[in-house]
């Protein structure tokens, strides 16, 4: 048996004598919590970078002429935005930060199954990020994040190889994370913690990992083939060389559609946690939420062709993919209904994380419903590759994943740092983000149905009003993203101590101190209750305890 008598020192504390030793204690750490913090810093850096590129794009689009950027620069800006956001923020975002931090705590383990693999994945992420960054610094890349051949393999005159190398290496970073999650969930659960006692965040992370493990290698080899075609001019996908460009699209979307679920599934998990905690009651329909995550992961593998309805694939494939796409809408709907039902007879408090969760539901509903529009082939023919698609996936990715990411960060911030942040500012920024987001992206639905194609830096005059509205909204959105950065950073010094369980939440992570001790649990806990084990009267007691002046 491993020693259990370990000093319960917070994972952030150190007794390193020198600064250099302190840096080393972070860069060579195998503690999942420290690795999560490393990820948090890196991922937020890339988020800001991607956001900067987005701002440039939005500013350019204020006028119909290409007056701020040349077409070349504009293409590089939106490609940078896409690649950074997709590969370096959305895909690793919630799993690598919240998942790394929480999964061992939630399953009652001292660490991930493979701690060094975990650290290795962070280094892979950083190496991949450096490749992508250097591609941007040395002139950028203009293929769009989808790298469609033969443009990317033959015609583009930009740093495609460097960028592909970045995405390739990043892919192995997420594979490492996925392997770790799967093995940890299977083998490291505390005694008594059965599958149906697991928090829903663990379920959704598990489903995410399944997708990562099965799909990521395929895009890895596909990008490798594109690189080979580009370097040696001997092609697999270029029709001039005997190949078929649609094969690239099949292989690419075989990963990249499930990747959308890699981005949103962990968000679902976070929202389940938040809704339950801030309603002070058990989640409604636990099994249905858990199974719907798995169903999304599995059905998600069968729908990639809905990105290719006008690409020249067969009518038969179009119909099959359209049909399965309709089916994948159902598990997402089940989740939304169950969250809503959880609110019923709860004792709801409007703490910052809950505001994000409620905002998430609203935005995700719009994102999901417009997904059905796009799944219907006849409509997709008109709106694909227009701003309708842009608006749709931003509703899911920004309105979904980023809201969940921010909600999760706010929820577990006291656990991660031991400090509370300013909740007034928290509420204000959540509101600003919600308003700014809708202002930015709702007009784009209209633009898209009007026929405004995506990736245009000059556009006909009649689209200007909506573009200006959208750009104005993006300013609001940007402010909304910057405020949390400020008050969360300030809270590290000024925030009041949070205590072990500031939200009165259930779950093993709230039973340890804040910040958690380096070894998580002095004694491995034995679990005897289900997740979200609020007693039936918890909501009543909470409401009864409310006095004017208590937090809303």
């Amino acid at each position: 048996m491993a020693t259990t008598a370990l000093p319960s020192r917070g994972y952030l504390e150190d007794d390193t004598p020198t600064v250099w030793a302190w840096i080393k204690s972070w860069l060579f750490t195998v503690d999942h919590k420290r690795i999560a913090i490393l990820y948090l810093l890196a991922i937020n850096f890339y988020f800001l970078l991607g956001g900067l590129a987005a701002s440039v794009v939005r500013i350019e689009l204020i006028t119909p002429q290409g007056d701020l950027l040349s077409s070349d620069l504009y293409n590089r800006a939106f490609t940078l935005h896409g690649i950074i956001m997709v590969f370096f923020f959305l895909i690793p975002g919630i799993p690598a930060v919240l998942g790394n931090f929480l999964i061992p705590l939630m399953v009652g383990a001292r660490d991930m199954a493979f701690p060094r693999l975990n650290l290795f994945s962070w280094y892979l992420y950083m190496i991949g990020g450096l490749f992508a960054l250097s591609a941007a610094v040395f002139g950028g890349v203009d293929t769009g994040w989808t790298f469609y051949t033969p443009f990317s393999s033959t015609y583009s005159n930009s740093n495609v190889i460097l960028t592909i190398a970045g995405a390739f290496v990043m892919g192995f970073s997420s594979i490492a994370t996925g392997v770790n999650f799967i093995v940890t969930t299977h083998t490291m659960r505390a005694p008594g913690l059965t599958w149906f006692r697991l928090p829903l965040f663990v379920w959704s992370s598990y489903a995410t990992s399944l997708i990562i493990v099965l799909a990521t290698p395929v895009v890895g080899i596909t990008l490798l083939l594109v690189a080979i075609e580009r370097i040696w001019g001997v092609g697999i996908f270029d029709p001039a060389l005997g190949g078929d460009p649609l094969l690239f699209q099949h292989l690419f979307w075989f990963y990249s559609h499930p990747a959308v679920y890699i981005m949103i599934l962990p968000g679902f998990g976070v929202i389940s946690e938040l809704i339950s905690t801030f309603s002070r009651k058990r989640i409604f329909g636990y099994e249905f939420i858990a199974f719907s995550s798995m169903a999304i992961a599995i059905i998600g593998f069968l729908v990639w062709g809905h990105h290719m309805f006008v690409s020249g694939q067969s009518v038969y494939s179009g119909l099959v993919f359209s049909f399965i796409t309709m089916l994948v809408a159902i598990p997402s709907a089940i989740k939304v209904f169950n969250w809503t039902a959880t609110l019923y007879k709860g004792s709801i408090s409007y703490r910052t994380p809950m505001l994000y969760a409620l905002g998430f539901i609203g935005l995700f509903v719009i994102g999901g419903l417009t997904g059905i529009f796009l799944g219907v082939v006849a409509i997709d023919i008109h709106v694909t590759d227009t701003y309708f698609v842009v608006a749709h996936f931003h509703y899911v990715m920004v309105g979904g994943t980023i809201m969940a990411y921010l909600g999760g960060i706010h929820f577990w911030w006291p656990k991660m740092t031991g400090r509370m942040y300013n909740e007034v500012w928290g509420g204000i920024s959540a509101l600003i983000i919600f308003v700014g987001f809708n202002m930015t992206f709702f007009p784009q639905f209209v633009l898209g149905y009007m026929g405004m194609p995506r990736r245009y830096h000059v556009y006909p005059q009649e689209f200007q009003v909506l573009h200006v509205l959208s750009s104005a909204g993006s300013t609001v959105l940007a402010i909304g993203f910057i405020i949390p950065l400020i008050y969360l950073t300030l809270s590290l010094w000024k925030g009041k101590l949070a205590g072990d369980n500031p939200w009165d939440a259930t779950g093993l992570e709230w039973t340890v101190s804040s910040p958690p001790p380096a070894h998580n649990f002095d004694e491995i806990p034995v679990v005897t209750t289900e997740a979200y084990a609020y007693p039936p009267e918890a909501a009543e007691r909470d409401a009864a305890a409310w006095r004017p002046g208590s937090p809303l």
Binding site: P150, F151, I330, T340, V458
Partner: protein, 351 residues
């Protein structure tokens, strides 16, 4: 304030049905997406911790409820799917009689060519109330031919043909966009579609005008006006000239006695191949057989034809394909029909 429309114009036969489906989807979305937020808002307020409310007997789950909100959406999305699927099949099935126009996409312009050989750049003139079939290919990367007012879009791929059809219903000028990102000047790969009455179209078609060829040189485009009434389809005529000058006629004799199969009546007919499979000799097959003759050889003939890959421009390929089609009834029916009409109109004009 510039003009500020919120809905695209409806200018083809597809626009109505697609907008109807879109409208139904919006209505359904409002029922779900519009009502749900209000339920959430209500619950948020009603069960806020500051509110006195009955919180006893909390439900933890309910199978009937779960089934309800699984099955109702499922039925609805399936209904929507079938509606959309039938519409989609319509959009992808061109009627037998149509006006064929060839489209070539290249970085960063559209090049179109009408049945009488008249060419346009970044413009497409089409008659209204007449099915138009576009036969499209690309010289370089993937493009996408998109006319929002007609609600049609189709990617244009290098190395093969894709087709798309529509029937315009309203005269006017509409946007033509490239919807698939194709490189630096993607946003400038735009043009206009001019829908005009059949009479206007035919007059336009037979009016000479300066035409810029894809390679940038100027060519005389109006030859059609004199050719159509007397000879027929100039596109096919040019193909016929090529067919002779390339020496195709030496092997592909009309009577079938040559080394190669006769091409008369070949187009759109199922043909038995060397390996026993049946292949419909459509545009893509003809194209492939010119570029890579060995890929599918007709049963009973040796694979002896040299490849013309790299020796023909896309224009010349189109002309050859048009010629081969003109040798068969099914192929020429559409073009010949419209040419007859054109000839008729021209004759009317001359009176």
């Amino acid at each position: 304030m510039p003009d500020f429309p919120l809905f695209p114009e409806q200018a083809s036969t597809f626009a109505g049905p697609i907008d109807a489906l879109y409208g139904v989807l919006i209505a359904l979305s409002l029922i779900f997406g519009g009502i749900l937020p209000f339920i959430i808002l209500y619950l948020m307020v009603r069960y806020h911790r500051s509110q006195k409310a009955d919180r006893r007997n909390q439900p933890e789950g309910s199978l009937p409820l779960e089934l309800t909100w699984t099955i109702i959406p499922l039925v609805l999305v399936l209904a929507v799917f079938f509606w959309g699927a039938f519409l989609y099949i319509d959009i992808r099935t061109p009627p037998a009689r149509n006006l064929e126009i060839y489209v070539i996409g290249k970085q960063w312009m559209w090049h179109t060519q009408h049945s009488n050989g008249k060419r346009e750049n970044n413009e497409l003139h089409v008659p209204i109330n007449q099915p138009v079939k576009l036969i499209m290919t690309s010289q370089d990367v993937i493009h996408s031919f998109y006319i929002p007012a007609f609600r049609v879009k189709q990617d244009v791929l290098p190395g093969r043909y894709t087709t798309m059809w529509f029937e315009a219903t309203k005269t006017g000028e509409y946007h033509l966009f490239c919807a698939e990102y194709c490189g630096t000047e993607h946003a400038r790969m735009v043009g206009r579609v001019v829908a005009m009455s059949l009479a206007d179209y035919e007059r336009w078609l037979t009016t000479p005008g300066e035409i810029i060829l894809p390679d940038g040189s100027a060519g005389a485009g109006g030859s059609g006006s004199t050719l159509i009434p007397s000879i027929g389809d100039p596109m096919a005529l040019a193909g016929a000239q090529l067919f002779t000058s390339l020496g195709c006629v030496g092997c592909h004799r009309d009577d079938g006695a040559g080394i190669g199969p006769s091409l008369v009546g070949l187009y759109n007919v199922e043909t038995r191949m060397q390996d026993g499979s049946l292949v419909t000799a459509d545009e893509n097959y003809l194209r492939e057989s010119i570029l890579n003759p060995g890929a599918k050889t007709v049963a009973g003939y040796a694979n002896v034809m040299p490849s013309y890959d790299g020796q023909l421009s896309e224009d010349q390929l189109n002309q050859l394909v048009a010629y081969i089609k003109s040798l068969s009834d099914s192929g020429s029916a559409s073009t010949r029909l419209s040419n007859d009409q054109i000839a008729g109109v021209v004759a009317d004009e001359l009176k």
